[in-house]
């Protein structure tokens, strides 16, 4: 018999489009998007760094916008579109941001890289839409300067300290 106060996990079926493929799974409501991707769907490109929204290693694009998969409950992604760093390179064709990371040696161990790449893709889209940042004049159209890129990428930590080249890579990608 279950101990007093014990409650079984609550399961629910969700359908999420992951990297272009529709996936239906039964998940415990407690499951994060990060655990859904890594543990249930076998997509290990988003990484579990801190699991508390502090490091950015789990960054994915949710309906095209960068978010933290570790603080997103999987049930809230029902009927939504998730893109991971893996999905940015369908059939191995690298996304320009991924190519820029290679071209500029923008990583050392690589653990934070999938999150950095997704974050950069999201940040460049925000720049293109004219979103302001703390690094610039909020009334002016933002430019992808190094200061702007550093500010906009501040949610992605790199313990190897590859920041200098990460900024250069994002600069290259911004030039298109």
């Amino acid at each position: 018999m279950a101990p007093a106060g014990y409650r079984r996990g609550v399961e629910t079926a969700i359908t999420t489009r992951v990297d272009g493929t529709t996936r239906t799974t039964r998940v415990d409501t407690r499951t994060t998007l990060l655990d859904l991707l890594r543990e249930r769907l076998g997509n290990t490109s988003p990484k579990k760094g801190c699991d508390h929204g502090q490091c950015g290693a789990c960054t994915v694009l949710l309906d095209g916008r960068r978010v933290l998969a570790c603080l997103t409950l999987a049930v809230t992604t029902h009927d939504h579109d998730v893109t991971t760093a893996d999905g940015l390179a369908p059939d191995g064709d690298l996304h320009p941001v991924q190519q820029a990371f290679l071209d500029n040696d923008a990583f050392q161990c690589g653990y934070c890289t999938p999150g950095q790449v997704c974050s950069a893709v999201g940040a460049l889209a925000e720049l293109a839409q004219g979103h302001p940042s703390h690094a610039g004049d909020i009334t002016a159209d933002p430019e992808p300067t190094r200061a702007e890129i550093a500010e906009r990428m501040s949610g992605n930590l790199c313990r190897c300290g590859a920041y200098t080249n990460i900024i250069t890579a994002v600069e290259q990608a911004a030039r298109g």
């Binding site: 407690r30 049930v75 909020i138 009334t139």
Partner: protein, 332 residues
């Protein structure tokens, strides 16, 4: 993490009635704080009421006022042209908070309700009157660099972490709330409370109360507003102290002022005493400094294993002076 149900009511009324019927339910908006708290074991709701369909993300105008739907994302509010030109301190506050990813998740309704980042509140192995009433306060005599210098009590010295809320406090925003008994509005400055002898309550909201909208008044002075935040690193860190200010200067004399401080109290701190000093006086550093010093006359600083937080007093006086000087010398 304990099991919970997840429901997504179609409108705000259903969400509120659902919450009223479930004493241990919690509203889920952006989730950036709540999901972390579920993991840390700080809170144990048995039902999450997902607000994604119940609140609007729209930002609309009504008679010169700006109505920000509770579901609007921090990043979208900061990018809104009306916010950037008419309430620049709000845009600056939003952009100085968290990271790009978190700003895409966090919402107008959730941001003011985020809880303190006091390390002892977040660590369930330590005493904390906010988390476990009557257990004590581990911050007293501990690491107090981030803690309060105004309005604290013997029970709690935590600070409110939101940047957005400091700007809303300065700019005379209003909160629209739907509760089990109907709708009401609360001046933003009255939303948060001091800890007194019940630090478990951050705000005056009761269980089942849902923020549906944040309203900004038609305010000419708000166009001349700024937010400045001082923190331990250049980005992605909570405020040690922050200043939201708006200033109106005519022929070298201050004719109107709004001032609020962040990182110093259990709530965003509206600096009314400082505003009274400012208005009618010449727009000079002496005036700005006197105003900030007056507001902090009753500050009580804490010792701590990390050297304490006495540094906040001079830091805040200098920062407030600098922000007010910039507003006077470089009108937007």
């Amino acid at each position: 993490m304990r099991p919970f149900d997840h429901q997504t009511p179609a409108n705000a009324h259903t969400a509120v009635h659902l919450a009223a019927a479930h004493p241990t339910a919690a509203f889920l908006a952006g989730g950036t704080n709540l999901v972390d708290h579920l993991k840390l074991g700080i809170t144990h709701p048995d039902l999450l009421i997902d607000l994604s369909a119940a609140t609007t993300a729209a930002i609309t105008e009504l008679d010169g006022r700006l109505l920000i739907g509770a579901g609007a994302r921090n990043s979208d509010i900061a990018a809104d042209h009306r916010v950037r030109t008419r309430y620049p301190a709000l845009a600056e506050a939003l952009l100085s908070g968290a990271s790009g990813q978190l700003r895409n998740m966090a919402t107008a309704g959730g941001n003011p309700l985020q809880r303190t980042r006091c390390a002892y509140f977040q660590d369930t192995t330590t005493p904390c009157n906010k988390r476990r009433p009557g257990s004590g306060c581990a911050a007293l005599g501990g690491f107090t660099r981030g803690h309060a210098i105004l309005g604290a009590s013997d029970h709690c010295v935590a600070t409110h972490p939101s940047d957005m809320a400091v700007a809303l406090t300065a700019l005379d925003a209003t909160v629209h709330v739907l509760g089990p008994d109907g709708e009401r509005t609360i001046p933003f400055v009255d939303l948060h409370r001091l800890p007194d002898d019940d630090p478990t309550r951050d705000t005056v909201l009761d269980h089942g109360d849902l923020i549906t909208m944040i309203e900004l008044p038609d305010s000419p002075i708000a166009r001349q507003s700024r937010y400045r935040k001082v923190r331990d690193r250049a980005s992605y860190a909570f405020a040690l102290i922050s200043v939201a200010a708006a200033l109106e200067v005519t022929h070298g004399v201050i004719t109107d002022a709004r001032l609020a401080f962040g990182g110093v109290a259990h709530k965003p701190w509206r600096a009314r005493a400082a505003e009274q000093i400012l208005i009618g006086e010449p727009a000079t550093d002496d005036t700005y400094r006197l105003a900030a010093e007056t507001e902090l006359a009753n500050a009580r600083t804490l010792d701590g294993l990390d050297g304490g937080n006495a540094f906040k007093v001079p830091l805040l006086i200098r920062t407030a002076t600098a922000v007010l000087r910039q507003l006077a010398e470089e009108p937007r």
